[in-house]
């Protein structure tokens, strides 16, 4: 049984252990104890804060294996990507070129440095330990953030995005970076990412990155090929997110060219498909009749947020959900309480 909950101060050592095994250049987790402590403190403060307008809050969730009493995954959500500056990305523009005299008609792609994602909420830091089996747990981890956003819409923007790490070679080099960022930053990809700490909202970006559109046909072949490509470590997240309703193709990362998935919340299944149900205690250990579906179920306890998965008969059209006392314990809910649930 896995539960997703807000990070706690006691999780720091476990996060440090997790961070030790993540890949260089893939900015899923902070690397140093200091940074981890800061991230945890910031999350605790964010969950505790009264929020009217989304700002610098950052909510960090962990996936805990209850059997092993061990942290096996993380996922975070920033209230506003540009709260601390301007969030930069490349927009994929298509320019139609038509010459009637010459009977030429084709499209030219161009990358434009833009700040359109600044007011979006940003999903990040999705990481799963290799020990977590396939099944509903990964989806639970990815979607719990959005369930929290469904419950607390005032804490988030109307649109969400997720940058996924782009491709790098065996030495940590990025062909997209080599064709673009390197010319302005004059440093290796990993050095730049280290220096900037994975951020995309710093003044130095507007100081250094190109202000004019980059015509894609002028980029070397390997850089063009890397545009919108995911680092292998991000495939699972990509699949979960596209299933959720996120769309790629419109934006890519300014550093490594990785895809940035984005969507209006009305296009996300967690928003359109979730429902609030009353808890009904089920003492019946036998499975219900008919087909069972995986559902994510979350309490509505703010800083005490908990979410788990259950297998249940179809809940659409129901007003209540039957939960075993064990599940109620984990979720800290009782008969008659409200929970938010969505089919996985």
């Amino acid at each position: 049984m896995y539960v997703v909950r807000p990070v706690e101060a006691g999780d720091i050592a476990a996060l440090e252990a997790l961070a030790a095994v993540t890949m260089p250049g893939v900015h899923t987790l902070p690397k140093t104890r200091d940074k981890i402590e800061q991230a945890v403190e910031r999350s605790l403060a964010s969950f505790a804060a009264q929020v009217d307008i989304p700002s610098e809050e950052s909510y960090l969730f962990v996936l805990e294996s209850l059997a092993e009493r061990k942290i096996v995954g993380t996922a975070a959500i920033f209230a506003s990507a540009g709260s601390n500056g301007t969030y930069f990305s490349f927009r994929n523009d298509v320019i139609q070129q038509v010459s009637r005299d010459l009977n030429i008609s084709h499209s030219v792609h161009a990358l434009t440095l833009c700040s359109e994602l600044t007011a979006y909420s940003q999903l990040s830091s999705f990481y799963l330990d290799a020990s977590v089996p396939e099944g509903p747990a990964p989806a639970l981890l990815s979607r719990s953030r959005l369930l929290f956003a469904v419950q607390q819409p005032q804490r988030f923007g109307d649109r969400f995005f997720v940058p996924l790490a782009g491709v790098t070679d065996e030495h940590g080099g990025s062909p997209f970076w080599d064709a673009l960022g390197r010319k302005f930053f004059k440093m290796d990809f990993l050095d730049a990412e280290r220096t900037i700490g994975g951020a995309r909202n710093r003044t130095l970006i507007v100081e250094l990155m190109p202000h004019y559109p980059v015509y894609v046909p002028l980029l070397p072949g390997d850089a063009q090929a890397a545009m919108g490509q995911i680092h292998p470590s991000g495939e699972q997240a990509f699949d979960l997110l596209t299933e959720e309703g996120f769309e790629a193709d419109e934006y890519i990362d300014i550093f490594d060219g990785g895809p940035i998935l984005q969507a209006h919340k009305h296009a996300l299944r967690t928003f359109t498909g979730s429902q609030t149900l009353r808890v009904r205690t089920s003492l019946d250990a036998a499975p219900a009749e008919g087909p069972l579906y995986d559902y994510a179920i979350a309490n509505n306890a703010g800083p005490g947020f908990r979410a788990v998965t259950i297998a249940s008969a179809e809940l659409e059209g129901c007003e209540a959900v039957a939960l075993s006392p064990e599940i109620q314990d984990i979720l800290r809910v009782a008969d008659g309480d409200s929970v938010t649930c969505v089919r996985l």
Binding site: S99, L102, V108, Y212, L218
Partner: protein
Amino acid sequence: MLVVRAINENDLDALYSMATQVGTGMTTLKPDMQMLGDRLATACASFAETIPPEQRDYMFVMEDTSNGRLAGVCAIKGAVGLTEPFYNYRIGTLVHSSRELNVFTKMDTLYLSNDLTGSSELCSLFLHPDYRQGHNGKLLSKSRFLFIAQFPHLFTQKIIAEMRGYQAEDGSSPFYEGLGRHFFKMDFHHVDDLTALGKKSFIAELMPRQPLYIDYLPKEAQDVVGAVHKSTAPARRLLEQEGMHYEGYVDIFDAGPVLQARVSELRAIRDSDLAVVSPDTDMTHACAPAHPEPTLVSNTILKDFRMIVTQATPVNGAIDLSTLDQQLLRCHAGDTVRTLPLNVRKNNV
């Protein structure tokens, strides 16, 4: 004897026969009777001042008076870009600097521009292979500067000359292959022909409009920005000696440099002088330099402008031209001529 002179109505056949010698690479002088006839008519109207200065096209021919053959041609257009847009890339600088990271990056950038719109243009220089010797090339090229020095009011403040850009051994243009081909999707020579035919609206339709960092281009393309075709290097040197400079404008297709100058800063404007044609006297003879330098001498008549190179040297406002020289220039003792040392004086700095 060779004289450079204003073209006239009788030169059409000889001009055509010279145009057949030109070959590719000079788009403004093709062996097309209609085109050449139109151009000749414009040139005659220009010298006759019957069309406005910005429409004029002063065309000069070098005539071999010994046999009446035309040995070369050159021209000055009153103004470019006033009927069809005149495009160039201008090379600018953009600095990207972050104090926080201690990074300072200076990048060359290409801007699509029409900045040179309205400039006067030196163009259509061609010297027949039989005459490529001695001072002939210089005489032909520099004749235009003496004309400008004599009639500066006919020209705009800025004068330009487009130089043919670098080409590889196989005739391809590395700059075009690195940039233009992605947008035009056709051969370099095809594009070149289209512009020569005046079909230029496709440039507005297809050229990328946004400034381009040169660093984005392949190395071979970067290397030839502002570089001339190897056959053009001597012509470039001649123009630079006369005060023209490469100021960062290049051709949008082959990146060949545009040389330019303020008319007021041309050597011919600064260093040319008027002199009266008068027989040698002991007095002037005594003051003449021991080693006379070749001198360009022109008459001062717009409609029948003529210029030669001679060993006579002006002294104290007078010049002793031989009878032959006077015949070539169609001037006589007592007339005023304009003179300019053929070669540039060493800089005294």
